[in-house]
């Protein structure tokens, strides 16, 4: 069988399932009694096992199988969830992730996981992880389990949990069916047929139970028929015809499970346990509500799934490139139309420009990805970090659905890792210190993302120690980052931001989590290279907020085109505050620096022709100067140019791999006339 074509899909889906496993595991850690979550994890693990076995990744399937066994035991309340068990399960998920990544990189997904497997086995057999296993007993109990399973064959019996689930779902208007499927006598690939039937069933509802068990079905340990209990909104006839479409299925019999069956027994039992279970009441209710929620969630997810298609990123990139070409041509058409000045041509070009604007919005939003794809690795990271550091930390994520262009998403991951590590390591104090300071032992780190205007804001907030400004200043002066004199005039915010300067590290002890003093200035550089900026607010003893502002996209930006002699430069609109014309007499001198008084503020002037060494043909001292006022953080500067040309949407192009790190130039673009114009990097002009 040609598996290559499925490989990509397999990798994608495996990643999704593993992600859902770790998400749910974290959830389970918070609510160790919520069996609905265990079910979710079990389902993901189970699908993963099936997929990897089909694709021939034995190690992957094997480890998932072992993990599944443990989950099954938890589900059946044979094992009680504790931190030790979760650690091992987390460890297995980590191994699984590594294997999948290995497969994605073209490897064979093999990995020695015998230690983890041994641990899983010990948990499964109910022993403490440290102890050696006693295999004889396990074998015996397993054998016993097999016999009972055989006895139960072809006869669905429901335990309390399943009864409750069935009862609940019928009350909510779902149908509960018992479906018995008979396969053809000559059926060769029974497991495959079973898989196809289950696939159909799972698309139409939730499988509550099957007989023989799913494991046995997959191992073809059954004759020709099997039974399944299903909760579904689809009616019986439709289900029947769908299942019959699977080849080699001989017969499908569907019976509605009569309410009385489980209502009676469930009621009987609940009556019996009512008195004893008064205290447990609220908890049980909670569990059920959760279950309900997940049901609704899956229902809505399915609903949404039918309306989307998967498109490879490559194709979207091609679309984007083609659209960029169009943007350049539009610029060209516009300049031709202005030259020709033909009314009909003008009208058409204008209409085309409007349509292109709409098209641009759509193309750009199509490439948007929820920031979730970056955020979802953080809960596990914070968990591991807090265990390593012996701190108690609760990570809250808000606005994970906020969408950003893929180009930005690709770059933002590492800076965020640095910042979160920083908050966990330096921000949040140890439980002892927190208690001494009258704070709750558990520290909070909040990761928040939201849109505002043409920007996306990402904030990392912690309720830790905050920044000790005196210590920061002392350190910065000793490292020569600021002088003693200039330190006096710094605002609180500027002092906070000193920790982003290169060569700065306040942690007395260098840990491998953060604190080599390279992290934060790399963060700052990366964010600025993305056209964004970072600021810090902090109150000592209360906590800090690191706030990142990022542009929505990096590929098409609005600029102001300006002319200096014969050269055209583009200044990003995002850093422009306004433009103005000043007279020679407005220019003042302060310490060899020409400045102007701009709305009561002293703004330094930067003569772009000097900065860029523009060759001047003649020296006509003009009495008026065109000035573009730009901003970086709360600093202003005036860029002096010859003339303003106007505002335009341009496609950002890199200068290639040969010309890198050119002072004050962040890239280039192609103008309507086919010439290249350079984009001014305002951040570099203001230090």
């Amino acid at each position: 069988m040609e598996l290559n074509q499925y490989l990509e899909m397999f990798i994608e889906e495996s990643k999704e399932h593993l992600q859902s496993c770790s998400d749910n595991l974290l959830e389970l850690e918070k609510n160790p009694n919520d069996l609905a979550i265990v079910n979710e994890i079990f389902r993901s693990a189970h699908t993963l096992k099936g997929m990897s076995a089909t694709m021939g990744y034995e190690d992957l399937a094997d480890l998932t199988h072992k993990m599944e066994n443990v989950l099954d035991a938890i589900r059946n309340e044979k094992i009680h969830v504790d931190a030790e068990i979760l650690d091992v399960v987390f460890e297995s998920v980590d191994h699984l992730e590594e294997m999948v990544m290995n497969i994605a990189d073209g490897g064979d997904g093999k990995k020695d996981v015998s230690q983890t497997v041994a641990k899983l086995k010990r948990i499964e057999s109910g022993e403490s992880i440290q102890q050696e296993s006693a295999p004889s007993e396990t074998a015996a109990s397993e054998a016993a389990a097999t016999t009972t399973a055989l006895d139960n064959a072809l006869q669905l019996e429901y335990d309390d949990f399943e009864k409750t689930v069935l009862l609940q779902s019928t009350e909510q208007g779902f149908n509960a069916f018992e479906i018995s499927v008979t396969l053809n006598d000559g059926c060769l690939l029974k497991a495959a047929r079973v898989y196809m039937v289950f696939d159909i069933l799972e698309k139409n509802g939730d499988v509550v139970k099957s007989s023989p068990t799913v494991d046995k079905l997959e191992e073809e340990q059954f004759d020709q028929d099997f039974k399944v209990a299903l909760i579904s909104q689809t009616d019986a006839e439709e289900l029947r015809s769908k299942i019959m479409k699977v080849s080699e299925v001989d017969n499908v019999a569907i019976t509605q499970i009569s309410k009385d069956l489980f209502v009676q027994s469930a009621l009987g039992e609940s009556e019996a346990s009512v008195e004893s279970a008064v205290d447990e009441g609220p908890i049980a209710a909670q569990v059920e509500v959760k279950k309900e929620e997940t049901n609704q969630k899956t229902a809505s997810a399915k609903h949404a799934a039918s309306k989307t298609i998967r498109v490879s990123i490559e194709r979207l990139d091609i679309l984007m490139n083609l659209f960029e070409e169009l943007v350049i041509d539009r610029g060209r058409l516009q300049s031709i139309a202005t030259e020709v000045n033909h009314s009909e041509l003008n009208e058409t070009v204008e209409r085309m420009s409007r349509t292109m604007g709409d098209l641009q919005n759509i193309v750009l939003t199509m490439r948007m990805i929820p920031i979730e794809t970056v955020f979802n690795r953080f809960p596990k990271m914070v968990r591991t970090l807090s265990r390593d550091l012996k701190k108690k930390i609760n990570l809250e994520i808000i606005g994970a659905e906020t969408e950003l262009d893929r180009t930005v998403i690709d770059e933002i991951g590492d800076p965020l890792v640095h910042l979160i590590r920083n908050s966990v390591d330096h921000g949040i104090e140890s439980p002892e210190v927190r208690r001494a300071n009258g704070k709750p032992e558990e520290g909070n780190v909040t990761l928040r993302a939201y849109h505002s205007g043409n920007y996306v804001f990402i904030e990392i907030e912690d309720d830790g120690a905050g920044i000790n400004r005196e210590r920061v200043l002392k350190k910065a002066i000793s490292k020569g980052i600021v002088t003693k004199e200039s330190a006096l005039s710094l605002s609180d915010k500027q002092i906070n931001e000193l920790i982003l300067a290169s060569g700065f590290s306040t942690a007395e002890v260098i840990s491998d989590i953060s604190g080599r003093g390279v992290g934060l200035d790399v963060v700052k550089t990366t964010i600025e290279s993305l056209g964004g900026n970072i600021s810090i607010e902090s109150t000592e003893g209360v906590g800090s907020i690191f706030s990142i502002q990022l542009p929505l996209t990096l590929s098409i930006i609005s600029v102001m085109l300006v002319e200096i002699e014969l050269e055209i430069y583009a200044i990003p609109l995002s850093s422009i505050i306004e433009t103005s014309i000043i007279k020679n007499s407005d220019i003042l001198n302060a310490h060899n620096q020409k400045v102007i008084d701009f709305r009561g503020k002293v703004v330094p002037l930067i003569f772009l022709d000097e900065i860029f060494n523009v060759p001047r043909s003649e020296n006509d001292a003009d009495e008026y100067h065109s000035v573009v006022i730009v901003r970086k953080g709360d600093k202003l500067a005036g860029l002096v140019v010859d003339t303003f040309i106007g505002q335009q949407e341009i496609v950002l192009k890199s200068l290639g791999n040969y010309l890198t790190n050119i002072f004050a130039i962040s890239g280039a673009t192609i103008l309507g006339n086919g010439k290249v114009a350079l984009i001014v990097d305002c951040n570099a002009l203001m230090k």
Binding site: E324, E325, I328, E567, I611, F612, N613, V614, K653, S654, L655, G656, N657, Y658, L659, I662, F663, A664, I665, A668, I670, G674, K675, V676, A677, L678
Partner: protein, 145 residues
């Protein structure tokens, strides 16, 4: 007579002042006429600027300037040879590009000890062909100072 299997190196031949130079065809993407160049400030003098090569912004190196040969005025024959090397795409400004040749590999000799000009650092070898002397460029050294 038996046809002796001989290895050839296909090169693009171009002219700078009075000398002929060669670059392997495998490194050459195309040859363009001179077009509008946008100057890039704060770059070495031999970087003339960037051009729009069918939508790709491509930097240009003036080889005369790079080799310390006095710069001539642009003439009709001036060409831009677009070369690629390890993900880099760069254009060389040359006096003229006029030939594609197959050089027998055994005609290539190591760089002579005494060349006596500034470009000696950029030469990987010389090839003698009848009455022509072709200088093979060491692209890595031309691009990376």
């Amino acid at each position: 007579m038996t046809a002796v299997e001989q290895e050839y190196l296909k090169v693009i031949v171009f002219q700078l002042a009075d000398k002929e130079y060669a670059i392997p065809v495998s490194n050459v993407q195309g040859i363009e006429k001179l077009m509008h160049i946008t100057r890039v400030p704060k770059t070495p003098a031999f970087v003339k600027g960037v051009i729009n090569l069918r939508g790709v912004v491509t930097p240009l190196i003036d080889l005369r300037e790079r080799f310390g040969i006095p710069v001539s005025n642009n003439e009709e024959t001036t060409r831009i040879i677009i070369i690629t090397l390890e993900e880099m795409e760069v254009g060389f400004i040359v006096d003229s590009a006029n030939d594609v040749l197959d050089i027998p590999v055994n005609a290539i000799e190591a760089q002579p000890e005494v060349v006596g000009s500034n470009e000696e650092d950029f030469i990987s070898g010389v090839a003698k062909l009848e009455n022509r002397l072709l200088i093979l460029l060491h692209l890595d050294k031309v691009l990376n100072p």
